[in-house]
């Protein structure tokens, strides 16, 4: 084959590949999450060492081995949405994330992915939230704190969705063996508070602003697709005003609290009370409860402090 022929072949192959439309459909499979067995348990821990209290909560739940089997692909999904520092309480605290990642590694995970589709520029968010620098300290190649790869958003049919019938989801989140949701609890102008249900916004594609048009119902629908094995709410610092990104230290209240549940609705319901509100104040909690995604009546939950 001479050079001319070679170039011709390459050009033809390239043209052939390029002119094929990408076809990518994925049928959502049921998440391997443990379904909430009544009564829903909520574990709460308080203390100034956020790594320690996070570990204590998991320990009380039966250890990370209950959720992470050896060789499992784990996703830890914090809120890294904003270009804010840890003190400003707009993102999940890096120590809470690090504790969960460390425990998952110790349980024998094959990989632990940490990502979020950020609102501000992703490199600034990952860096200034403190999460990426903190995870780099672990120095384990199984930890992957990577930016969102736009190619990995795939359309998913939302079976039983009341408001949304289809949306783009992040492939790695869909394919995880164990999905751990780690929201930070904070104020939000539209939904009142942003908690675990809202944190799913970080694994969906498309123009997310449209979710706001009926936010409670939409969030409940989205949460039928990805069912976390475990929800850990970071309430170490609560952003009380000017959420979800805040910026003023005066708006932050230090609570030194981490709570966890296998029931995502119960976790949100309990976290709401930390702001002095009742669970029914948050429309996504109510919508999810009505769809049977979990328990919002705290009197039916067992709350354990460690």
């Amino acid at each position: 084959m001479d050079r001319r022929e070679f170039l011709k072949q390459v050009a033809l192959w390239y043209a052939g590949i390029m002119t094929t439309a990408p076809v990518f459909r994925l049928v959502p499979r049921a998440m391997a999450g443990t379904s909430a067995s009544p009564p829903s348990g909520i574990i709460v821990s308080k203390g100034e060492d956020y790594f320690k209290i996070t570990a204590a909560v998991i320990e009380k739940m039966g250890g990370m081995g209950r959720f992470v089997k050896p060789g499992a692909k784990v996703v830890v999904k914090p809120n890294i949405g904003w270009d804010r520092s840890p003190e400003q309480a707009a993102n999940t605290h890096p120590q809470v994330v690090r504790a969960l990642v460390t425990l998952a590694l110790d349980a024998g995970a094959a990989s632990v992915q940490v990502f979020d589709r950020t609102c501000n520029e992703e490199r600034r968010c990952y860096q200034n939230s403190g999460i990426k620098p903190e995870l780099e300290k672990i120095k384990d190649p199984r930890v992957k704190c990577e930016f969102i790869d736009e190619r990995k958003f795939v359309p998913v049919k939302i079976e039983g969705g009341k408001a949304l019938k289809e949306w783009q989801f992040y492939k790695d989140a869909l394919e995880a063996d164990c999905y751990i949701n780690v929201p930070v609890a904070k104020h939000h102008g539209l939904s009142g508070l942003t908690l675990g249900m809202k944190n799913i916004m970080g694994v969906i594609g498309g123009r997310r602003g449209q979710i706001h048009h009926d936010i409670g119902r939409n969030l409940a629908d989205l949460n039928t697709v990805i069912r976390p094995s475990l929800t850990v709410v970071d309430a170490t610092r609560l952003l009380l005003r000017s959420g979800p990104q805040g910026g003023k230290i005066e708006d932050v209240s230090i609570r030194n609290t981490v709570l966890a549940s296998t029931d995502p609705v119960a976790a949100d319901a309990y976290a709401t009370t930390l702001f002095g509100q009742t669970p029914d104040a948050i429309t996504s909690t109510v919508a999810a409860f009505e769809m049977g995604l979990g328990e919002m009546r705290l009197e039916k939950c067992t709350i354990t402090e460690v």
């Binding site: 990408p22 600034r124 102008g189 979800p244």
Partner: protein
């Protein structure tokens, strides 16, 4: 290796070094995890005497940032136009294309005077307040062309190849291609695909410089480059020169081979045209050429006539007035949003050399080149286009890379307070007003710590007749800094229902009442 070849190799190594430095700094013109860029990425503009002269004349101030340009003048005073032959990355790239783009015609009659004409127009215009350096400065042409067209195009082509494998290739192919792609992304490709308005314009301008090689080697450098002209004038006084100063009778080698065409019709060498490439050490059949320190004696006059210069001077005086009488430049409704830290509009236009560094570094790809929106004066200056990308609240990179101080270097606190413009709601389109649909995405994203966008809660009758509680946004104008994130994230299709408009002081001179 023979001794003469050593000199050529030394020159080539030097050229490649500076080209590599240029490309390295180009790639470093980006956020790297630090709020401050650790390299002087704008170095090539800061040692550019043309930019320094044009900005100094236009603003009538000495810009300390541009003082390194004196070093290039000093270098030229000693060694002549060695900058053109050994350092300039555009010159190196033109030399590099010599094997691909060969002159198609016999050499044209010399056009060396054009570069002096261009230089005169630029400097005289600058003295009368019109900054034209960005049109013809070699670094502005090169960097802008790379930022706006070449780099995004390169990324798009490479990425399309890897994407094709990713979406259509078999698993084993992806297993090979993705690590290669990651390596490309780490070292060669930009962090992400950037998009600019009308990349073809900048591409054609840059490609034109290369296409001119069809008319002769280093055509741009010999005949058009105003920086070359400036250094040529300085090198009339340089000490390091080629000998002999006269080409030999009956030998046409110097005439035919010199890439800078540095000999006039009377065989006299024009030291100011020589870029010290040292080729003549090799091609001289008699091997009599040498380069040595000698007193600066010039046998030939500068190849430009008084008539050319008078014409150029008059053009230089006229152009600024052509801009002054242009209503487009005075129409307040055509004002664009300037990047944070921008000087007042009039000073900004005089100080900006249209280099494209701020477009390159903008972390949200929010800065775009102005084309004809503001008349001749504004072409290639940066503007913020929030619907394409907003200004990241904590980012101060554009002020750090601006080589002339047209954008000031801001501290984080100054940046947070700097007013780029002010947001205005269009209630006819905004969802909670126009169609009683809950939204408030703008309020969610508003980054000022006391939110500049707030909302009223109102009870309205919903579509089904039932009462509906709605949050309707409004702007606290004094708190708004015009970052434009609200305009960017507004979920409406088409134009945003909240838009940022310029809010700077309106000078009475610019807008006479």
């Amino acid at each position: 290796m023979n001794k003469k070849l050593v000199f050529r190799r030394a020159r080539q190594v030097c050229q490649i070094f500076f080209l590599a430095l240029f490309l390295f700094l180009f790639r470093q013109t980006d956020y790297t995890g630090l709020d401050t860029i650790p390299y002087a990425v704008n170095l090539f503009f800061r040692w550019d005497p043309l930019a320094a002269a044009a900005v100094t004349l236009a603003t009538r101030t000495v810009i300390p940032l541009l003082l390194p340009a004196l070093a290039v003048i000093g270098l030229t005073l000693v060694f002549g136009r060695v900058f053109c032959g050994w350092i300039c990355p555009l010159g190196t790239l033109l030399d590099g294309t010599a094997r691909v783009i060969r002159p198609v015609s016999r050499p044209l009659r010399p056009l060396r005077h054009i570069k002096y004409v261009i230089l005169t127009v630029v400097l005289v215009s600058a003295a009368f307040g019109l900054q034209l350096a960005g049109w013809v400065d070699p670094f502005s042409l090169l960097v802008r062309g790379m930022v706006i067209a070449v780099d995004p195009l390169f990324n798009a082509l490479v990425t399309a190849g890897f994407d094709a494998v990713y979406f259509h290739g078999p698993g084993w192919a992806t297993a090979v291609s993705e690590p290669v792609y990651d390596a490309f992304k780490s070292f060669i490709l930009p962090y992400k695909q950037s998009l600019f308005i009308w990349p073809a314009v900048s591409l054609v301008m840059l490609a034109g410089v290369f296409a001119l090689e069809l008319l002769g080697r280093r055509f741009w450098c010999r005949n058009l480059c105003p920086l070359g002209a400036m250094l040529a004038l300085v090198s009339r006084f340089s000490f390091f020169r080629r000998k002999p100063l006269l080409a030999c009778k009956n030998c046409e080698a110097c005439h035919h081979e010199c890439r800078m065409s540095a000999f006039d019709d009377d065989r006299r060498m024009m030291a100011e045209e020589c870029n010290l490439c040292l080729d003549c050490l090799e091609f001289c059949p008699k091997q009599i050429t040498t380069f040595r320190f000698t007193p600066p004696v010039n046998r030939a006059p500068v190849d430009v006539t008084r008539r050319h210069l008078i014409g150029a001077g008059l053009t230089g005086i006229t152009l600024p007035f052509l801009v002054k009488i242009d209503a487009v430049a005075k129409d307040p409704s055509r004002r664009v949003l300037r990047p944070p830290g921008a000087l007042a509009e009039e000073d900004f236009l005089k100080t900006c050399v249209r280099c494209g560094e701020c477009l390159k570094v903008c972390i949200q790809n929010a800065l775009q080149p102005v084309l004809l929106e503001q008349g001749l004066d504004g072409v290639f200056t940066p503007r913020l286009v929030p619907r394409l990308g907003y200004c990241e609240f904590n980012c101060t990179l554009c002020g750090q890379v601006c080589p002339t101080g047209a954008l000031k270097r801001l501290t984080p606190a100054e940046k947070h307070a700097f007013v780029i413009g002010r947001a205005v709601f269009d209630r006819n389109r905004c969802l909670p007003f126009a169609s009683s649909t809950p939204c408030i995405v703008c309020e969610e994203h508003c980054p000022t710590s006391e939110k500049a966008i707030r909302f009223d809660e109102v009870v309205v009758t919903g579509a089904g007749g039932a009462a509906l509680t709605l949050k309707r946004p409004y702007v606290i104008t004094d708190l708004c800094v015009g970052c434009g994130i609200c305009e960017k994230v507004c979920p409406l299709p088409g134009p945003s229902a909240v838009r940022v408009y310029p809010a700077g002081e309106i000078s009475s001179d610019l807008y006479p009442v």
